[in-house]
Assembly symmetry: C2
Homo-oligomer: 462 residues x 2
């Protein structure tokens, strides 16, 4: 396939068509962009040209927590800007290294298991209806033995889900509105946004770009992207992602041992996001449960999305050890189980068949190959920015490269790169104020696209 | 296949293996069974024989709302009792007409579309990653044109999801803790339980078997299973399911017109659950949006589960008209969109391919055939209980038969039927106090099993 063909294929096979801005997203953003306009902007938001003006309103008050949210969720917002760019430059060969969306085909050993399960559903013997909300036993067992062997994690501790992002929300429902939370700054925006939605935070403070009542743990080159815990206030919940999205940094044994001790000293619960663990090259812990004592203070979320290209197939899991207890001694896992049973009905049985195939010897080998491919992309991106004289972080242990543009606004850099190279990145400040001055470049992409993007970066910054 | 073979196949293909009681469910129930025991029962709950006793507890308080919940969620509890029965009678040929779980194979026109989509994910051209959180455009368009043609509902109003139960929870997150809710009594337990979890209710009042601050709208033979709205207090949200689960009753044009007017008079929002609409034989509205003015006061959830046997595949949708506004004029759909984008990542792309196939002419024909098959089961069950002299409700417009055992406890009747016939039903009181004295018999089952169950009922009640 020609380079141009590859580029077009990339564009058409990407999610742009699905993420195209709808009337909702556009007008939602217009209204939501600053908090005080919430009430002032009412008429404007209803009376967009495409919507009928209705006089009738219910008397149900809008959820005040949701009204605190700023703009749209980050990635739909990036998709919106990408779509706007395509309107401006309809012939542009846009390359997306923005949202961390996988691009490589799923290995056949995995898709054929899903196809087989689909066909089996047409037979009396192969049909199954409702599965366990916690996931199919063989999948839970395979996850336990593949990722948590000798760590004292059993299949009963594992809840199979439709993805880590969904589980984060369900965890927030378990915790409720009365907990306090800490996040790495910068961090994956679902942690903060779900905290806001559940009412765990105060209002957004525009001047410092932070919500009140969230503890932002600054992670920067100065502290090796690991927070100075001596300056971190005690919270109930600590969201911690390693290898980190977006900085690409992976915490060391020593750092995670410190974190577990910090949680124990404070009686906190760590929500550990290990969605990128298989991308690690360095000898850092793959799971928080490799740290002694972690089972009493941590739970862990993970996902097949970035390992097997399951971003659209939807499959993840959460591990909650029996030893993790609320202050009254009630196991966190039991409340999570109740939420999973009441608010969820299990991941798709077809996706679970895919997950099981991922964890077969052939599936694991195939996943490692796909991950290896993306890691080569990461190298190419790192070398490009290094050669241009940028300070580059991450990459070695994660599919994200974190490029420093000191003193510049992330959104300005994002806009300049998009305008001049037609490459979509992600502005660091979208992950929190600590990301200001950085750009996240994702290594997910066809090789030709990554090479072409790097050629354009070299052109722009030569 | 012999009858015995059919029975065994039914048992092995049912969800019992996945729903088998885990340590969590067992001990959770032991602790949760009455609210005041929450703190007293702490040591007991931790020190079950299979769990290690740990001294360490975090200082994070358990979510007080979740602590209000009674026992386990209804259907896992029924599965637990079924499993306990199998331990007692290992050779029993148990037939499950309890949880409304589909049993018939999915038509091939649908599974082959899912298999094709699976295989396509192994190709560069056919691969797709993250889709739109709201669902793929063709699926949204097909839902709009199939179910809402000429009703003024557009594809942008439709959010594709992993099922109606999951959407109910996401809707509750949108509404937050400050709303008041009404439910039909009896009703599908997810409405009440999710209200409790979000903190919309008071404590459970054991004497009347109701949560404080929920408006229970009694639906009984006396009022034709439609609440006397003149006695119903105003609430923000009104959950309304028609055809109803569990009573099988479908509201008429006149009744739904009354309901819409009631909501409008009160400024309420109706969450209308139409998951069984395709089962209707009578000429009642299939969608709340068939009622003039409903778009200003109602949203609707629906599902492929009971139409196409998708209980394990997971696919549903929610319709939120642009005209549905909070008191400040902000569209409900925009907040739901924000929650869907932040707390969800779209239904599995393979399941969506199945949904699209369901809505093709061949898919619709195949779904109607499966529904017709279950409706024949319903007839058989209705005739059986009628012939035994029971008062029987539902059935005509829903896959559920609602059998009256006046003056008896539902759980006692459930237990007697299970003990003496090895048939699992659902006790009516599991759906609310208004279900006391009733048993729900589900029409989902292989024909041979339904016939055999009816033979056993005739033996028991002759």
């Amino acid at each position: 396939m020609s380079l141009q063909g590859q580029l077009s294929a990339s564009i058409s096979s990407s999610s742009s068509a699905f993420l195209a801005p709808s009337v909702f997203i556009n007008s939602s953003r217009a209204v939501n962009v600053s908090v005080p306009s919430k009430r002032l902007g009412v008429c404007k938001c209803v009376a967009t040209p495409t919507e009928e003006v209705t006089a009738y309103k219910t008397t149900v008050s809008r959820n005040a927590n949701i009204a605190k949210l700023q703009a749209g969720y980050l990635f739909p917002e990036i998709a919106r800007r990408r779509a706007a760019h395509l309107v401006k430059y309809p012939d542009a060969k846009v390359i997306s290294l923005g949202i961390g969306d996988t691009t490589e085909p799923i290995p056949e050993v995995i898709t054929s298991a899903m196809a087989q399960r689909s066909y089996a559903l047409s037979t009396v013997e192969g049909y199954s209806g409702y599965g366990a909300e916690q996931g199919e036993r063989p999948v839970r067992a395979a996850i336990a033995s593949t990722f948590y062997k000798d760590l004292g994690i059993e299949e009963d501790d594992i809840f199979v889900s439709d993805g880590a992002k969904c589980d984060i929300s369900r965890l927030q429902v378990v915790f409720g509105s009365d907990v306090t939370v800490a996040v790495q700054d910068p961090s994956y925006p679902a942690y903060v946004d779900s905290s806001v939605i559940l009412g765990q935070t105060g209002l957004y403070q525009k001047d410092i770009q932070k919500y009140a009542n969230i503890e932002y743990m600054k992670c920067s080159p100065e502290n090796g992207f690991f927070p100075d815990l001596s300056t971190v206030a005690r919270t109930d919940i600590i969201f911690f992602c390693s290898p980190n999205n977006p900085t690409g940094s992976a915490a060391t044994w020593e750092q995670l041992t410190q974190l577990v001790q910090f949680a124990k000293d404070n009686g906190s619960i760590i929500v550990y996001d290990s969605a990128y663990a298989m991308y690690m090259s360095d000898d850092n812990p793959r799971s928080i449960f490799e740290i002694p004592g972690a089972k009493e203070v941590a739970l862990e979320t993970a996902s097949f999305s970035k390992y097997a290209g399951f971003t659209g197939v939807r499959l993840g899991w959460t591990v909650i050890p029996k030893q993790l207890l609320f202050s009254d001694g009630f196991p966190v896992a039991k409340d999570f189980n109740r939420i999973v049973c009441t608010c969820f009905n299990g991941a798709s049985n077809i996706s679970q068949a895919g997950g099981l195939a991922c964890l077969s010897p052939e599936g694991l080998k195939a996943m490692h190959e796909v991950i290896g491919f993306y890691k080569e992309n990461t190298q190419i991106i790192m070398e490009t920015f290094n050669s241009l004289g940028f300070k580059v972080y991450g990459g070695t242990n994660a599919p994200y490269v974190w490029v420093h543009f000191p003193g510049q606004s992330s959104w300005d850099v994002f806009a300049e790169i998009l305008e001049k190279t037609h490459v979509v990145t992600t502005p660091g400040s979208g992950f929190g104020p600590g990301g200001e001055g950085f750009i996240r470049v994702s290594a997910f992409g066809h090789r030709e696209n990554v090479l072409e993007a790097c050629r354009r970066f070299k052109q722009l910054y030569k």
